[in-house]
Symmetry: C2
Subunit: 346 residues, 2 copies
Amino acid sequence: MEKKKNKIKELGEFGLIRHLTSDITMKNPGTLKGPGDDAAVLDYKGKLVVVTSDILMEGIHFNLIYTPMKHLGYKSVVANLSDIYAMNARPRQIIVSLAFSSKLTLEQVENLYAGIRLACETYNVDLAGGDTSTSVTGMAISITAIGEGEKKRIVYRNGAKKNDLICVSGDLGAAYLGLQLLEREKKIFLNNPEVQPELEGYDYLLQRQLKPEPRADIIEYFREQNAKPSAMIDISDGLSSEVMHICRESGTGCKLFADHIPVNSETEKLAAEFNITPLVAALNGGEDYELLFTVSPGEFVKLKDNRNIRAIGHITDSEDGCNLITHDGSSIPLQAQGWNAWHDKD
Amino acid sequence: MEKKKNKIKELGEFGLIRHLTSDITMKNPGTLKGPGDDAAVLDYKGKLVVVTSDILMEGIHFNLIYTPMKHLGYKSVVANLSDIYAMNARPRQIIVSLAFSSKLTLEQVENLYAGIRLACETYNVDLAGGDTSTSVTGMAISITAIGEGEKKRIVYRNGAKKNDLICVSGDLGAAYLGLQLLEREKKIFLNNPEVQPELEGYDYLLQRQLKPEPRADIIEYFREQNAKPSAMIDISDGLSSEVMHICRESGTGCKLFADHIPVNSETEKLAAEFNITPLVAALNGGEDYELLFTVSPGEFVKLKDNRNIRAIGHITDSEDGCNLITHDGSSIPLQAQGWNAWHDKD
């Protein structure tokens, strides 16, 4: 271990970044210059450029106790690609900035990069630049994703219209339950390191928490069907919070039908163990990286055969507010108290 | 103070980012969508897209004891714009991701943003997106800068040719001396908070450390003169380290002439106080954000009247290595032991 640590110091900042990126080849013809200069140079040939960036902090957005480095790298990339897809655009490049304490070994950094690179390969994205530096505190990962859009296809949050259907991809709440499971096992482990974690039977939930996938398939499906949502956002902070973003930006209200919100059977099972209502996990749990979008009834017809897309409600007038219609028909105002780094961990 | 702190919590993540960015208007016609969606949407109309990103960590890249928030915001932006200029491109947008502990007051965050916005206004750059989150450790600032380039104008690090002149803008070593001055006064302050810091007479050095300016003027001058460097890099880690980057990427060696390296008189004066050779500060001190470039003798003729540009050496064969020629004509191999977050603070 000691040797590996010294290895990072030996390499130094520039040596390390070369070590991590030297064998990377650019696959997108538009990536004219990748790592190794002051900036990446990209040719978008007149297409629109879609850019998003975020920063993930140790202890807030991830916990190294139960997050394998490779998964952390993968997920950090996914979170950003998901934002590009949420614009109905295609990610093409990422740039990665990393700060970590000298406690980390070269092997850990290599594993992190292995996850980053796997995500890049899976989604045909070039790792076009980045830097590393040291941190006297925790680890920080900043990723910028750059994608290609077309003016007529880009979808903003603000285009929802009254009577549009509200749709969601996949199922919700699983990543949140996966996190609860990991937190429980962490506590048990911290109390007694001899006890093996009980994670069996919850592969789906763990995968959703540790190795989520962004919905590239949905974006390609829109293209194949020549269909365009009126508004779209990815679900990183919980359905409730995200649908309220769309409604606020669009100047509308909404009705969501509790019975239609898709929840996986594993999510239901573990929610019962934790005494959590699965619907609450779906509404307020975060990190699902599914797409939430609104679509006119005419456009919805083109999409209804896709079993990964579910209509869960519709857009209403702004005055009606944002409401959840429960099983028995009663209406409850939605609240945006989702998974939010500010409220949870402060 | 307590009230201000609570103010941040009250606002929450989304409220805070709206509070900080709601009155910002996009000035570049290419910025189709700024803050408030999953990603920024930019129209580069066929021009090349130049992207760079970095992460600044409290305790490594900045020290809140002597760095006013507004300066910190300004400088964080400048460091990234400088990378865009170093490609001979023009910055157009930035995206800012911020993580900070709950110790910070709303006023401090507002001041940081005031500095970020001042830099944007000064360099005609749109603040096109960003997010904030909390941190359980120190503060982290990640900035992505996006700029516009033209294929025939973009300058990489790898284009230097034998006999090209090596040029530098402005003067070197001042930011490093400014840092030494602040470090000294910090120590005195920590020993005795009653003592007023002695910073008078060193305005230039402090400005270079706390509020550096990127060399937009030099890039515009290249354009006016229809001149193009063969290789370019910005000086963030010290002249020595940067010229070696150019030589390694270009497969060349170089000769720098000690007598020609520009050093300001304030730098010389304070260096004497600290018993530092000014040349060492110029070679190994960092954060000058000047441009280092190589240019063919034919192109140099177009630039020689600009008093902000100084020829300090020339490119040689790779076998000759990278050398500094001193006053008495002796040759010393250059070493890249510049200001480097890895070596200094680890």
